[in-house]
């Protein structure tokens, strides 16, 4: 029990429960399952980025370029569809483009031995810069047939399709990270890069693949966001990298690598969604939400550091 309480996820779950009750007390609309599902579905793209970011951070790296990757992939998908390509082909192209952009980061990090913070800082500017050069100030509208995926539901349930996609991907990435040899390698590299290398873990390949998966998720997220918004612009998902990193760390992943879970990261994103939508219902202006989420991040990580110090005693 004591061990359970000192896991990083425990603090997130406790905060989630508190936020949930505060939400119920503050507004009678809060418990409406449709409202909650809708709010969560609106953050499905952020959720997809969180899955990739968890892999990257557990591996001991960071990727600041994911939101730029999403924007560039999303813009290209929209252009392809506007050019008359069938939707499935365009979506596939988006995923491949995302994977390629992620792989470029991965190559520089794994094979050129450059720090991921700087590499992805460069591609953060580069990818969004390419999107901006491609689109200018214009926005590309998507046809009716492609847009509006968030208003469609998985047949027989009230679950919006974006949420369904996110849950399936979360299960898949969760299995990959926590139940496969590849996942053990990610943890090994994140805990001790050198030891992993001496234990014959193919660390360069693993790192490259982690960035490729993260990029592919961003590419898919771009296609999803196109459909949800019905329009693509170069400034899609601007600043989302910070939300995503915040959620991942809030969910207990260690920024130094070697620690983190898919469940924790997804729960933490849920927490952030519930807080911001709960505060919205309670008529707290969006301005305050920013300050509150920033404070929660610091408090959660601070509590973690303190609980670890106690556990070590």
């Amino acid at each position: 029990m004591r061990k359970l309480l000192t896991t990083p996820e425990a603090i997130t779950v406790v905060l989630l429960i508190i936020a949930f009750f505060v939400g119920i007390v503050e507004s009678k609309y809060f418990l409406d399952p449709f409202y909650l599902l809708d709010q969560t579905a609106m953050n499905a793209e952020a959720g997809m980025l969180v899955l990739g970011m968890t892999l990257v951070i557990v591996c001991g790296e960071i990727d600041l370029s994911v939101a730029s990757n999403l924007a560039l992939s999303g813009c290209i998908v929209a252009k392809l569809i506007a050019a008359g390509l069938p939707a499935p082909v365009a979506i596939l192209a988006g995923i491949v483009i995302g994977a390629t952009l992620g792989g470029f980061n991965g190559l520089l990090v794994a094979y050129a031995n450059l720090p991921s913070f700087l590499v992805s800082l460069g591609t953060w500017a580069l990818y969004r810069g390419i999107a901006q050069a491609l689109m200018g100030a214009e926005s590309t509208m998507l046809p009716k047939s492609y847009s509006g995926i968030d208003a469609k539901f998985i047949p027989g349930t009230g679950i919006p399709i974006p949420l369904g996609i996110l849950l399936i991907l979360a299960a898949a990435i969760g299995l990959l990270l926590h139940r496969s040899v590849f996942g053990r390698w990610i943890f090994a590299i994140g805990s001790n890069d050198q030891a992993a290398r001496y234990s014959a873990v193919p660390y360069q390949g693993v790192k490259l693949l982690v960035f490729i998966i993260s990029g592919a998720l961003a590419g898919g997220g771009g296609a999803l966001m196109d459909s949800r918004l019905g329009v693509a612009r170069y400034d899609l998902a601007q600043g989302m990298e910070l939300t995503v990193i915040t959620a991942t760390v809030l969910g207990g992943a260690s920024i130094y690598g070697g620690r983190g879970t898919i469940a924790g990261s997804v729960l933490a994103l849920m927490l952030m969604v519930i807080i911001s939508s709960g505060l919205g219902l309670a008529n707290v202006p969006a301005d305050y939400q920013l300050a509150i989420i920033g404070t929660i991040l610091i408090v959660a990580v601070g509590l973690n550091a303190i609980s670890k110090r106690f556990a070590a005693r």
């Binding site: 960071i62 600041l64 520089l108 050129a112 031995n113 450059l114 720090p115 913070f117 700087l118 590499v119 800082l121 460069g122 591609t123 953060w124 500017a125 580069l126 990818y127 969004r128 810069g129 390419i130 901006q132 050069a133 200018g136 100030a137 600043g239 910070l242 990193i245 915040t246 760390v249 920024i255 130094y256 202006p285 301005d287 305050y288 939400q289 920013l290 300050a291 509150i292 989420i293 920033g294 404070t295 991040l297 610091i298 990580v301 601070g302 550091a305």
Partner: protein
């Protein structure tokens, strides 16, 4: 090796300037030089603080929010008391920055929260606080005293049609002080020791946590000063856009100027070159007639090129 990094930035700067000047000689005209001289001071002031943090093996991504918070506070104070002296206004901006930076430093140095997490948190928190203070408003042109705006128009030195604005003078004073601090003062050297090897520095009897708090406080102070310079340069301040995303430009400038994010190395001269390079690129793009849409792309490419050159240089040094 340290010198070669600065040399690399200088070479990039010369390549950019020569290439752009060949494409369009207008880059060397007074108007273009004036806009470069007006563009870089804010970046320099913020980058010097970031350099100290990076040398100590940290990172501060909250500086854009600190700029907004401090500039907004000072702007609103000027609205309430138009007669307030500029020195007092700058001191208040500096003070707000010191406070914000000290909180970052305390979270990182004493509470041992990883720098990227702590400053990501305060990035949101400070910007949120700026929104709360603004109450849906912003600092308007009429709020900013004329004398403050003059800092970016007038200057002590005129060479033909080229004016060196007071803004740049302030930035150069900051550069000079930072040079004295990092090259001539013991405390400044200690920051390099902490960044190279915190454990060894601790064994050596240095107060590592206290030095870390100091670097973030200085970085915050300079971001606070940046808020005042922002008011002078733009004449207004919007709490949502002011300084937003600037942290990445600033980090880019320091890294291009040769600071190593793995800590322990970086120089004031390099920062000056890095900032000038970004300023030259910014102005060169518009002079050469490339739409501003391409600016971000070029920044990204420059960061990656600088990194690539870095990788080649270190490989040759270790081989």
């Amino acid at each position: 090796l340290k010198n070669s990094r600065e040399l690399r930035a200088l070479i990039l700067l010369i390549i950019v300037v020569v290439a752009a000047a060949i494409k369009s000689p207008r880059l060397l005209e007074a108007a273009s030089i004036n806009s470069i001289l007006l563009w870089i001071p804010l970046l320099i002031v913020m980058a010097v603080g970031q350099m100290l943090v990076i040398v100590s093996r940290g990172i501060d991504v909250s500086i854009g929010s600190t700029l907004a918070l401090s500039g907004l506070t000072v702007g609103f104070l000027f609205r309430a008391n138009p007669q307030m002296s500029l020195v007092l206004g700058s001191a208040i901006g500096l003070g707000m920055g010191i406070l914000a930076g000290f909180i970052n430093g305390a979270l990182i140095g004493w509470a041992k929260i990883p720098p990227i997490i702590a400053t990501l948190g305060t990035l949101s928190a400070y910007r949120g606080l700026a929104f709360i203070i603004a109450r849906g408003g912003q600092v308007y042109r009429n709020d900013v005293p004329n004398d403050l705006t003059q800092w970016s128009i007038q200057g002590p030195l005129k060479l033909g049609a080229v004016t060196v604005p007071w803004l740049l003078v302030i930035a150069l004073v900051v550069i000079a002080l930072a040079y004295l601090f990092t090259a001539r003062m013991v405390t400044g050297r200690y920051i390099f020791a902490v960044g190279s090897n915190a454990e060894a520095a601790h064994m050596h009897g240095l107060h590592v946590s206290r030095l870390i708090v100091l670097t973030y406080t200085i970085c915050g102070a300079l971001a606070g000063l940046g808020g005042v310079l922002y008011l002078s340069r733009f004449g207004f301040l919007n709490p949502s856009s002011a300084g937003s995303g600037m942290e990445l430009t600033v980090i880019a400038a320091t890294v291009i100027g040769g600071c190593d994010v793995r800590g322990g190395s970086g120089s004031v001269a390099g920062v000056l070159i890095g900032c000038t390079l970004l300023g030259a690129i910014n102005v060169a793009l518009s002079v050469v007639g490339i739409a501003s849409d391409w600016q971000l792309l070029v920044y990204g490419a420059v960061i990656l090129v600088a990194l690539g050159m870095d990788g080649l240089l270190t490989r040759r040094a270790t081989a």
